[in-house]
Structures are given as C-alpha cells and as structure tokens.
Amino acid sequence: MKPILTAKNLTKSYAKGILALNEVSFTLDQGKVLVVMGPSGSGKSTLIRTINGLETFDKGELNVLGIKISADSDERKIQKVRRRVGMVFQQFNLFPHLSILENITLAPIQVQKRNKKEAEEYGMNLLCQMGIESHAKKYPGQLSGGEQQRVAIARSLALKPELLLFDEPTSALDPERINEVLDAMRRLADQGMTMIVVTHEIKFAKEVSDQVLFIDSGKILEISSPEVFFSNASHERSRKFLNQIN
C-alpha cells in the first residue's frame, strides 16, 4: 500500500495556551476512506484544513502525495498540494455569480490551462455522475442544498484530485437531502477515491470507511476500524461520545 498522506506530530494553537492540534500523527493509504469524529471544537476542521494549507500549523510535518509541508512552507508549495487535493465544505461555498458549469470549469481553465470546450465536456461528465446535468446552466441560488453540495463535489473533482477532503458535508442539509449526497460520496469511495470525511453520519461511517479517527481537544484518542470503533471503542471518551450522538 502506498501512503497518500502522512502526518507527524502536527501541533497548532490559535490562541496562546489552547492547542487545536496536539501532536497529531497518522497515515492514510491510497484508496482508503478515513472518517474523522469528535465532539464540537475538538479540532476536526482544523485537522482537515491543515492538509490543504487553509490553516497553517506550528510544529510537525505533513507529507501529502509526496510533497513535504512544514510550518514554514511557502505559498507555492501549498498550491501544488491544492491542485491535487479536492475539498468540500459544510456550507458548499459555490460561487454564486457563476453558473453551475462555470463553477466547475473555472479551476481547470485557470489552473490547468485546459481549453474551454474540453473543460466543459469533462464538467458535464462530472455533473452526469452526480445526477445533476440538467442544472448546468442554472445558478447556485436556484438549487436545493443537496444539489448544491453535489455541484460542490463535482467542482472538487474537476482537477482530478488524488485525495478528497470533506468537512461535515451533510450538516447543513435538510434530513431528506442527506442521502443523495452520501450516496454520491459512497460511489466515489467505490471507485477507489482516497477520502478524509469529517461527519457524524454513523451509518455512512460503518458502511464506507476503512478507519475511524477519534479526536478530542486536539489529540487523537484512537484510530480503529469501524467494526471495532462502533462496537467496542477502546477509549472511555469515544464510548461517551457515541452514546451522545446515537
């Protein structure tokens, strides 16, 4: 197995004294799905956002797709990572002034210098995969939350990433819209996409993930298979957390 991502002793604090990440170390192999769980404010977002450089860190080292990132890495190195790692946000963050198709083709045209026609063809292809090709000419404001999130997933796929990051992708959705997004993610996992998913969806974690990482107060308390984590979590704190969200 080829490691896609290695984190070694990642440490970060926003304000003095409080550690958002505390000596976080883990490895993720190609084609695996890692689900990140933990209570509110435990550092899940911080962890996932340091991977593509949306947050800096103070100590430790990251190796993303062979690119070594340290606390003092420059913008250009981080951009190299971002071109190969996709990200999906809780609030979708689609570009409201661009059409659905333009949202998806922007990065391929700007970043990879692909020609417009080629980018649009591939974009339509992705929209088909997400089952929303009929919305290509519409604007984000005209779509439901679930549809917007599927557009966001298509957008993150446009650069053909080797790793996808999801930060609570279904938390802002109406309950009846959650499954359409989870199904799209499940299909990606089945196709062999490497993913890190912050989520509270236990069913998704049980069925799709290869590993569950539990974090509390910036510290990894355990990394185990979903079978072990959900039936026999080794840590008292994890068991308490699972009781609360069940």
């Binding site: 593509n52 450089g53 949306l54 951009q79 971002r82 071109r83 790692v85 996709g86 990200m87 946000f89 609030q91 963050n93 689609l94 570009f95 409201p96 002034h97 922007l106 990065a107 700007q110 970043v111 604007y139 404001g141 957008r155 993150s156 446009a158 650069l159």
Partner: protein
Amino acid sequence: MSKNKKIFFQILLVFAVLGFLGILINNLIINLTRTGIGFNFNWLTKPASFSLAEHPLPYSPSDSYAWALFMGWMNSLKVIISSLVLATCIGTLIGFLRVGKNSFFRIITAGYITVIRQTPLLIQLMCWYFVGFLSIRNNSFLNITNILNISNKGIELFGFSFSSEFSALLVGLSIFSSAFIAEVIRGGIQSVPLGQWEAFRSLGISEKHGFIKIIIPQALPAFIPGLTSQYLNLAKNSTLAIAIGYADIYAINDTIINQTGRAVECFIILLCSFLILNLLITKIMGIIDKSIMKSRI
C-alpha cells in the same frame, strides 16, 4: 400606539410642516417688498461685467449673467468629474492595499485613511493650494518631458494645462474622497464570505485570479450605495472652491449676489443646479447597479 393615535400624530406633523413653510414664505415676501427689487429672473440677460480667470468656452465681461453662471456650472462639472475619477482610482487602490496580505501597506493605508478623514476638507484644500502649489519656487516641481509638469502655475499633462486653483481643488477633493472611498471598498470586500476565499484557494486558484474572478464580482453590488453617497458628497464639497478662488458655480453665484443683490434667485439657481447634478449622479449609479445585478443572473 393605536392606529387612531398614529393618524392623529401624522396629521399634526403635516400641519406643523405647513405652518413652518408658511412662516418662511411670508418672511421672504416681506423682505423682497422691503428691498423693492421684487422677484424675477430678467437680470440674467444683462452683461455680467466681471471677468473670469477660467472658462471652458469663450467668455468676456460683456456676456450675460446667464452665460457667466453657465461657465461656473461647466467649471464645477469639470472639477467634480475629474475628481470623481481620480478619487475612485486612488480610493480603490488604497482600499485593496488596506485588506491585502502585505502588513506594511495595511498599516500605511490605515494611517492615510485616518489622517485624511479626521481633518477638515477646507484646511486640506488650503494646504494643497498655499503650501502645495503656490509655494513651488522654481519653475517646475516635477517634470517628465512632454508628459507631466507640476509647477506653481498648476499641472500640465499631455499638453493640456490646468490652473493651480483647479489643480489644488482636484488634488484636495480627490485625496479627501479617496479615503472615504477606500473604506467603502474595504467594506465591500469584507462583505464577501470568507468561505469564498477558501473555496477558490482550495481549488489551487492564485490569490490574484481569485480576487479578480471571485471576490470583486461579489463585492461590486456592495460598493454601489457607498460610492453613490461619496460621489454626492464630493459634488457638494466642490463648493469649497470659493476658498481658493476657483470660479465654480458657487463662487460665481457669490459674485453675482454681491453685484445685484439677487440672493433669493441666485440660491434657487444654485440649489437647483446641485439638485439636478446629484439626481443625475444617483440615476447613473442606479443604472450601473441594475446592470451589475442583471449580469449576475
């Protein structure tokens, strides 16, 4: 408050306003009959018999008051429009630097905005005129051959020359307004959700491209109301021209009032001029706003 009470107070307010207007008009009529010159605009066709240092169209003292007023209006328009353009350019640049990544520029621009906004425009204009342009001793302060020449005679740019009065007013108004415009720009940019920055960054799009393609288009609608009110302020502030002897509409009105005593008529002309000008600015900004909104969907 009950509905009846509300209606009662509204009727009371209407009567109060009407009463106040009545008193004003009554005073006006009494004053006009006392001076014995009546109320009319016939004097507009008589020769003005004063000279103007600056006039965009041919003018001589034998031309009518109306023509002199029109020259004043043209002079006002000239300084307002050119300051508006210059202030927008400077203000936008300062606004961008104010929210930029470079902390040196952030501090410098914050200082600029604070100093400019906290001192009276009148004093700034006097400074630009007396300390700025008039104090230039030698023939030229800055001279870029055949392109730009700044001296105590004003500014010469591409063969067009501008008087020192116009130049001081232009620079003073532009610098003053640019500080306010910079704040409008900053507010507009900061009104775009942080998630938009994160979204384009996570796609590997550079800061420059993302700023132009993602942030600016979304900030534009937020710029318009603030810019409109700054442009209206600029137009009104231009009447401070009189302090440094630039022949704008207010200064010419002032001269005419001294000569003819037609204060009421002159102020009606003045108020109407600015009302029309500012309605025009508001209308144009409204059209720009609509076209921005339309281009979004």
